[in-house]
Amino acid sequence: MKLITAIIKPSKVEDVKAALTAAGVHGMTVSEVRGFGRQGGHTENYRGTEYRLEFVPKLMVEVVVDEEQAWTVIDAIVESARTGKIGDGKVWMTTVDELIRIRTGERGVEAM
């Protein structure tokens, strides 16, 4: 099993969700996160004083999928989250050792 983690632009979350659903993913977890990469932060102005805000709001999407499905899901995220502008985010994949559904105790692929 693989954990796919994506940092995306908040405005793209609905597109990503639609693409994941189309790719056969049955669940996802979305968190509000802040950070910076090449995009850097932005400047705000209050009463004529400039404030440099280094961290940009992003969404982190996490899905656990079967190994054969992993590249399909990654492609779906990359295609749906892309605007072509700086700040589109990142996707990465890590290996998951075990997965358990809390309600039933099912393990592995059964728990997805």
């Binding site: 102005n45 209050y46 009463r47 004529g48 004083t49 400039e50 404030y51 805000l53």
Partner: protein, 399 residues
């Protein structure tokens, strides 16, 4: 007092009460998210303690008798305030003025934000009310400054200049916030600021038009002036911002509206025609530069009480010397320079403000030093870093 006037004064009193929560939101939104409840509490505390002090002794010292400098003890505990005589007008006026007394120390809270001990604030408010607000109120309304002919319709000198300069004295004793000015302290909730601004503007119609203490033409003109000056000042502020800084901002609009309201406060019942637009516009222009002074002078007036209330109040009060137009108000006061008067009124306006500034600054400074040497005025560095909401009130604004 006739029935219509009594109704208007009572409604105005409630409108002015509503300004203190409005101010709390205006300041609270500009404040840090970890200190917003402390800011709200500093403001709400004023509407808890001031009414008590006001009826026990404050009103009597502020309005009792015919002394030039201070009132007397004739009205302690509201003694000798008639209920049925004058159709309740006297009693309604005591309540109306009590609302002004409540919001005046609340104005200072914006300057001391993020670092003042609540226990020190709790003592500061009633002491400041009796030592600073009450005497200046008496000088302006029934004492030597008013008798000399200076004008202050709804509290430009007695409230805004007074509280604004007191805020400067308070932060000079209190010191800067940790990290200021190198670290930014941007507003944590602009929507809260805009809600507060709306409430303030709404309440300010009672503050200014209610100060006619009658339902008459002067009240209607004060109402119109309150409407126009705020709009003009907000408009000027966002236009300056757009060309100076690149964008028209919500905070600029809010700051301009409040600066315009402050500036028209002393003049509201004495000017008419386009004067409120000019007074508001000038106040907006001057205040949007005045809020930058703190960075040059190095005093940490956190939410710009000096730049908006002191400067705006002073601008409005001095402009009375130019725009006062007694022809439209039965000649009940001196004319300004533009309406056939000489320099006399402007000189009286200047004198009244200098007197208020000297008294308010020195007594506030002394009071803050006294509190600093006894109970202390500043929270610990740890509390300042972690936020005053949890440490001072055991509450969290946002979960």
């Amino acid at each position: 007092m006739d029935a219509g006037s009594l109704a208007w004064v009572l409604i105005s009193a409630a409108l002015v009460l509503f300004m203190t929560p409005g101010l709390a939101f205006f300041y609270g939104g500009m404040d840090q998210g970890r200190n917003v409840l402390n800011m709200l509490m500093m403001n709400f505390y004023c509407v808890l303690v001031v009414p008590v002090v006001w009826v026990l002794v404050g009103y009597s010292l502020a309005q009792g008798g015919s002394g030039n400098f201070i009132g007397n003890f004739d009205h302690l505990f509201l003694n000798d305030i008639p209920i049925l005589d004058d159709n309740g007008g006297k009693l309604a006026t005591v309540a109306f003025l009590g609302m002004f007394a409540a919001i005046t120390p609340a104005l200072i809270s914006g300057a001391v934000a993020d670092r003042m001990k609540f226990s020190a604030w709790a003592l500061f408010v009633p002491l400041w009310l009796l030592l600073v607000f009450v005497p200046i109120f008496k000088w302006v309304y029934g004492g030597w400054l008013g008798d000399r002919g200076s004008l202050d319709f709804a509290g430009g000198t007695a409230i805004h200049v007074n509280a604004g300069i007191a805020a400067l004295a308070a932060v000079m004793v209190l010191g800067r916030r940790k990290g200021w000015p190198s670290e930014g302290h941007p507003p944590h909730s602009m929507p809260l600021v805009m809600i507060g601004t709306g409430i303030l503007w709404f309440g300010w119609f009672g503050f200014n038009a209610g100060s006619a203490l009658a339902a008459n033409g002067q009240a209607a003109q004060a109402f119109m002036n309150t409407f126009l000056a705020a709009a003009a000042a907000g408009l000027v502020w966002i236009v300056v911002e757009r060309f100076r800084d690149g964008h028209a901002t919500n905070l600029g609009a809010a700051s301009g509206i409040v600066a315009g309201l402050v500036a028209i406060t002393p003049a509201a019942g004495f000017v008419s025609g386009v004067a409120p637009l000019v007074i508001g516009g000038i106040a907006g222009l001057i205040c949007c530069y005045a809020v930058k002074l703190k960075h040059r002078a190095g005093y940490d007036d956190a939410l710009d009480v000096v730049g908006v209330h002191f400067v705006g109040g002073l601008v409005g009060s001095l402009l009375i010397g130019f725009f006062a137009n007694p022809k439209h108000f039965d000649g009940a006061f001196d004319a300004g320079i533009f309406y056939g008067g000489g320099l006399g009124l402007l000189a009286e306006q200047a004198l009244a403000n200098v007197a208020a500034i000297v008294w308010s600054f020195s007594i506030t400074f002394g009071l803050m030093v006294l509190l600093k040497r006894t109970i202390g005025v500043r929270v610990s560095d740890q509390t300042e870093a972690e936020g005053l909401d949890i440490a001072e009130h055991a509450e969290t604004a946002y979960h």
